[in-house]
């Protein structure tokens, strides 16, 4: 049984590779895509991975790959299920042994399950805006990259935004933290507690049980507490419910500020006019006014190679997030080729080095046509996050409008929390941290 499977497996892999890129080029950079397009969060996955694949094809079409190296990929459907994610990872691992771009799972659960495995197999794991946040400390997690920003830095940036809005002080104010009672919702608590102690505001934590379509009791409590602001960490159906509930109890929506997973079109459109004025953090802007997004539509969809069936998703928050994830990944390949040889595909180990030495400036983003799509990023061994900046955007009833510049969280306050947690992890796992001063 096992033996008869192997030829079938390799035949499938081969045919898929041919399918995904047409004629085979000499050098190709392979992206293992552990993605999801069905299941409870399927629509989010479609937009994100649609954007990701569109950008890979865009690079292939526009400039014939990175220095002649074609970008290829293979998808494996996880349905946002951890066990399936591991199965997919094992399936794609063999192909990724030769050349590998960063893995994007867009699932905290799957990233957690892959952290040890990917380090062992020397495949870099990118967790942009999710996943294990203390992996910011690259000395303990050489192969895990919570790129751009983490939940904790986001929470800190939101507090900073509120502080600025409030005349520079939050002393004596009351902020409700309304969160999805899961790993995702709890990540930010430790950062918010530290901020509350520092800025002397009172924080009230109110959890909402999964899936969050029943929030009557929580909003009753919010009405009693009369908070100055509500910081809101929702997910899926919980988001629109919260907005409608806020409207019902008469809590002003422009005092509610959500995390980046509560700020997509999928969240606000179903809430109708209840969403108007609601704010959310984001690390990528929406819209087609970003030149690269408009160009992708022209080049990739013009050539009939677009990945999305529903073209209306182009330019939405999650689509643009997929594009920005791909921009970062492709820039890493470019960076790696500078060191390891132009026109050559990078192995996972080489991509890892590149991810750790990213330096994407605003000037570079402008050349890519991605001005303001995402913040500047500069990573290093002891900072796998590289930015920590978010923008605050507001829903005007039809589209997301940025209402702030890039805001950086309080790094001096938050990063030591990561280091402490990474240290504990290293102790539990018996890992000797690398010496970052010796890395180059």
């Amino acid at each position: 049984m096992i033996k008869s499977f192997k030829p079938a497996l390799s035949a499938v892999a081969l045919s898929l590779a041919m399918l995904s890129q047409g004629a085979a080029a000499a050098e190709e950079q392979f992206f293992p895509l552990i993605d999801y397009r069905v299941g409870p969060y399927g629509s989010n996955g479609q937009a994100f991975y649609g954007g990701f694949i569109d950008y890979l094809n865009y690079v292939n079409l526009k400039e014939k790959g990175v220095n002649g190296v074609q970008m290829t990929y293979e998808e494996c459907e996880t349905e946002y299920n951890n066990a399936k994610g591991v199965e997919c990872y094992e399936r794609l691992k063999g192909k990724a042994a030769k050349s590998a771009g960063p893995l994007h799972t867009m699932s905290t659960g799957i990233s957690y399950a892959l952290i040890d495995k990917s380090a062992q197999d020397k495949l870099p794991l990118a967790m942009m805006g999710y996943g294990r946040t203390d992996a910011v400390d690259g000395s303990v997690f050489p192969y895990a990259f919570p790129l751009v920003t983490t939940y904790q830095m986001q929470a800190s940036a939101i507090v900073k935004f509120l502080k600025d809005k409030n005349g520079g002080s939050l002393a004596g104010k009351k902020i409700v933290y309304l969160y999805h009672d899961s790993a995702y919702g709890k990540e930010a608590i430790v950062a918010l507690n530290a901020e509350a102690a520092l800025n002397k505001f009172e924080m009230v934590q109110i959890p909402v049980a999964h899936p969050g379509n029943e929030q009557g009791a929580q909003w009753l409590k919010i009405r009693q507490e009369k908070p100055d602001f509500v910081i809101f960490w929702g997910w899926g159906v919980m988001n629109q419910t919260a907005l409608k509930a806020a409207q019902k109890v008469g809590y002003p929506r422009d005092k509610m500020i959500g995390s980046w997973w509560t700020g997509s079109e999928e969240d606000v459109v179903p809430a109708g006019d209840a969403a108007k004025g609601y704010m959310a953090a984001t690390w990528n802007v929406a819209g087609k006014q970003v030149p690269v997004i408009a160009d992708i539509e022209k080049v990739v969809y013009g050539a009939g190679k677009g990945n999305l069936q529903d073209k209306a998703k182009i330019g939405t928050i999650l689509y643009n997030r997929g594009v920005s994830a791909a921009v970062l990944s492709v820039e890493a390949i470019r960076k790696g080729q500078e060191k390891y040889g132009k026109g050559k595909a990078l192995t996972g180990e080489q991509t890892r080095w590149a991810l750790e030495n990213l330096n994407i400036t605003d000037a570079r983003l402008k050349t890519l046509g991605a001005t303001d799509l995402l913040p500047e990023i500069k990573t290093s061994c002891d900072n796998h996050e590289g930015s920590g900046k978010v923008k605050i955007q507001q829903w005007d009833g039809a589209k997301w409008v940025p209402v702030s510049g890039w805001i950086e969280g309080n790094k001096a306050l938050i990063h030591p929390l990561f280091q402490a947690s990474a240290k504990q992890y290293a102790k539990e796992k018996g890992i000797t941290p690398r010496d970052c001063s010796k890395e180059k």
């Binding site: 499938v12 905290t108 659960g109 957690y112 294990r132 539990e428």
Partner: protein, 358 residues
């Protein structure tokens, strides 16, 4: 003729009481074990170990646990995943808090912890039966997951509630490769499956079956209902607990409470229904069917689509897979409601007469 017992005489009590009284069965089981322990490690790839064989063995163990409770003792339960969660978190905490504790001791203690929790949630079985009991065990499903998220001590104050398991140190040697993990899981599963096989034909097992078939009659012939039912819950949870510990340590490496969802309990329940309720072998067959079929379809569907030139995206494949899977389950249950184990039994009966059926 191939499977004939004629001529196999038992002259001692020991020979009559052995686990596999028929010679063909003995040879079959020994061959299977030899292949599993010695053959497979040489042929299978890393993908087979990490993605197929290890989860198959672990889920077979969990299904075995549920089969003891539901198949043999007749107590319907929907809490198997929760007991697995107890096992996983208990093993993690024993490793974390007791310096130098051997991993196998941790697994055993994890099983015992799960057994304790199982007894607790088995208490309602003394008063209620059938569907009502299933709903009562649902409480375990929700309570345990809630409890693991609520008390951060259980996950060593991890900010997200996710635990990442420790290294597998086995007599001073760290088990790192998939092959080593596979052998560890295989050994544990084999020992526990043989123990279960032995248990269900002992006094305890016969008492369970008596309670399953009619508890009033069982109590009339002198079987004490309370200890019998609670023992079934304890043993079943023990199996599920060990499976949970293996799931965390040897398969995923990091688990969160939400991962042990109701969906997983259902999956284990489907395994025993498809495999065969009240059969040790059925647990293995069911686990293989439920776990391997989706992967098999996942790999062959794009291949078929390619062959016939159909434009399949990965989402279409996933949808077709769900449909085919559902249809196959319905087909199986209509054609053979007693599960795959029954098919195997029929095959054996046919082999007895082969090649001259009458």
């Amino acid at each position: 003729m191939l499977y004939r017992e004629a001529g196999q005489f038992k002259t001692t009590y020991a020979a009559d009481q052995q686990l596999f009284p028929i010679r063909q069965d003995r040879i079959g089981v020994i061959t299977l074990l030899v292949v599993a322990f010695l053959g497979v490690p040489f042929f299978a790839s890393e993908y087979w170990f990490s993605a197929i064989l290890i989860p198959f063995l672990i889920f077979a163990l969990a299904a075995l646990g549920l089969n003891i409770l539901t198949g043999y003792a007749g107590q319907l339960s929907l809490g198997s995943a929760a007991f697995m969660a107890v096992g996983a978190y208990a093993a993690y905490n024993f490793q974390l808090r007791i310096e130098g504790i051997p991993i196998l001791v941790s697994f055993a203690l994890a099983g015992l912890t799960a057994a304790g929790v199982g007894i607790l949630f088995g208490l309602p079985s003394l008063r209620i039966k059938g569907f009502y009991l299933a709903v009562a065990t649902l409480a375990a499903q929700f309570f345990i997951v809630w409890c693991l998220t609520k008390f951060p001590w259980l996950s060593n104050n991890s900010s997200s509630g996710v635990i990442s398991t420790q290294q597998l140190i086995f007599f001073g040697h760290e088990l790192k490769t998939p092959v080593e993990k596979y052998l560890l899981v295989l050994s544990i599963v084999v020992v526990m499956a043989l123990a279960a096989k032995n248990m269900v034909r002992s006094t305890t097992g016969r008492a369970w079956m008596a309670v399953r078939d009619m508890d009033v009659a069982a109590s009339v012939i002198g079987i004490k209902l309370m200890p019998t039912k609670l023992l079934a819950f304890a043993v079943s949870s023990f199996y599920c607990g060990v499976a949970g510990a293996l799931y965390a340590f040897c398969y995923l490496g990091s688990v969160e409470p939400d991962g042990f969802s109701l969906e997983m309990s259902f999956k284990i329940l489907f395994m025993i229904i498809i495999g065969g309720v009240g059969s040790i072998m059925g647990s293995f067959l069911g686990a293989a069917f439920i776990l391997l079929l989706p992967i098999f379809l996942d790999i062959t569907l794009p291949f078929m689509a390619d062959l016939f030139g159909l434009p399949f995206s990965s989402a279409t494949v996933s949808h077709i897979q769900i449909t085919v899977f559902g249809a196959l389950i319905m087909f199986f249950l209509i054609v053979e409601p007693h599960g795959l184990a029954r098919l195997w039994q029929i095959a054996k009966e046919k082999l007895r007469l082969w090649p001259f059926p009458h």
